[in-house]
């Protein structure tokens, strides 16, 4: 990958020019799907855009010292890492990745969650500290399954290159990995039944409680970009290998939308689970997935 293609991917497709409208679209899809499931009409199509622009025009409360500077830093860090994660997705065939880009993608996907934890603790509010603690506990539990699933798929192919993994033919191992990833997505995106970190009826807005105006807009955007990156990762794994670029892009967009719809329907149909139950769910039930994926990866590797 040379500098031109890297810039094109960060700025145009699947980077900012595609990812930001896609993020707003996914946020709208989620709200609309929940509204339709509840028998409501729901927000208008442009709602996330209106919210974003309105937040940009609001005041920021005065903050001083290192803690204030840190509070300003976290949302920017979250947006840039989520945007970088989207740009790394191997959507188009023959895009030319680099060895180890899977590791970078996983690290960038994890950054927004780390930023949320840090932001909650640096805002010094009791409610955000509770939210951050929940986010930390949750991320420790779902990441076991999430990382094992992806790394098993990668290990069975002897590669850490994303495009090599995206071009895998469908196999039981791959599908098992995709199901394991889908189980982790609600926790990664903080939606029901694992919306504990920002549980608005219990701890107000959790880690976001002290944020206002443009900083809050950055958090909303980073949440939307997380949607694009996380669903995009599953979509690239699930998509069949297509050599034509524009068909591959269309299939990617359609698959992402389908995953967003699926997750929203699950979110609308479930209630929030308590933190101990959520952690138990990920450690006990889905550990079976992880063991299965890992053992089949070892099996595939010894057979090849």
């Amino acid at each position: 990958m040379n500098i031109t293609t890297a810039l094109l991917r960060i700025l145009i497709f699947p980077g900012l020019l595609f990812a930001v409208p896609a993020a707003w679209f996914f946020l709208w899809t989620e709200r609309k799907a929940v509204a339709l499931m509840q028998g409501r009409v729901g927000p208008p199509f442009m709602q996330p855009f209106y919210d974003f622009v309105k937040l940009l025009g609001k005041e920021i409360p005065a903050r001083e010292g290192i803690a204030g500077a840190l509070l300003r830093l976290w949302p920017l860090l979250a947006v840039s890492s989520a945007g970088g994660a989207v740009a790394l997705l191997p959507v188009l065939p023959a895009y030319g990745g680099f060895q180890g880009d899977l590791i970078l993608l996983l690290a960038l996907l994890e950054m927004p969650s780390v930023c949320i934890i840090a932001a909650g603790f640096s805002s010094r509010s009791v409610f955000s500290e509770i939210g951050s603690a929940r986010e930390a506990v949750l991320s420790v539990s779902y990441n076991v399954v999430f990382l094992l699933a992806i790394l098993s798929i990668a290990a069975s192919q002897h590669t850490f290159r994303l495009d090599a993994i995206a071009q895998l033919p469908a196999s039981p191992l791959l599908w098992l990995g995709i199901v394991a990833l889908l189980v982790c997505l609600p926790a990664k995106l903080h939606i029901n039944p694992f919306s504990l970190p920002n549980a608005e009826q219990e701890i107000y807005s959790g880690p976001m409680i002290e944020y206002a105006g443009p900083e809050l807009a950055m958090w909303e955007l980073s949440h939307g970009l997380e949607w694009v990156a996380a669903t995009g990762l599953v979509a690239t794994l699930a998509a069949p290998h297509i050599s034509q670029a524009w068909i591959a892009a269309l299939v990617f967009a359609a698959l992402s939308c389908a995953i967003v719809l699926l997750l929203s329907i699950v979110a609308a149909a479930t209630a929030r689970i308590a933190i101990d139950k959520s952690v138990r769910f990920y450690w006990q039930c889905t550990l079976a997935f992880a063991v299965l994926v890992l053992s089949s990866a070892i099996f595939v590797r010894f057979r090849s």
Binding site: A35, P44, V53, K54, G57, P61, I203, S205, Y211, A212
Partner: protein
């Protein structure tokens, strides 16, 4: 710049986020506000979202006749809402202190402490009236965005009080 201002007006009108505050209300108006965001009335069509933190809000919805204990909290929360902001007084209590008038435990009505933009009278008001009041407050917010040049001297414009009748 003019285009940006017009866009900002639209966005402020279409995306009012609420923070609900009870200043000693009997809970009658509070359940009507909750009814306004249920599927039957569905205020989310107007972009309304009930937020958990006053820092996220544009419109402060206050119920209750403002008891002495609540005065400090009302002022604090009003200060925590970042500008531009609007205040909607829901029910007859914040407007006139209603049947609790002359009570020694009260320090109302609300307008003594914070500038109120829209009054929604009623005991309790219907959810439709509350939604209409919120829409009116959102329009006032948009108007404030439109003439950003006016309060350049640091003076906030006088509250354009309005009353909702349904």
């Amino acid at each position: 710049m003019k285009l940006w201002n017009r866009l900002m007006c639209t966005c402020r009108r279409r995306s009012p986020w609420l923070f609900h505050m009870n200043s000693g209300s009997c809970n009658g108006c509070d359940i009507e506000l909750v009814a306004a965001i249920t599927p039957r009335y569905d205020a989310e069509q107007l972009g309304v979202r009930l937020e958990g933190s006053p820092r996220h809000a544009d419109i402060l919805c206050i119920t209750g006749p403002v008891t002495r204990n609540a005065v400090g909290a009302v002022k604090t929360v009003y200060g925590q809402v970042p500008g531009p902001k609007a205040v909607v007084a829901i029910g007859s209590c914040p407007a006139t202190t209603n049947v609790f008038i002359d009570s020694r435990t009260l320090d109302g009505p609300l307008e003594k402490h914070v500038p109120v933009d829209v009054f929604v009278p009623g005991c309790p008001p219907r959810p439709d009236a509350i939604i209409a009041g919120i829409a009116q407050a959102a329009a006032i917010l948009a108007e404030r965005a439109g003439n950003t040049t006016a309060p350049a001297a640091g003076v906030s414009p006088a509250p354009a009080s309005a009353e909702v009748n349904l």
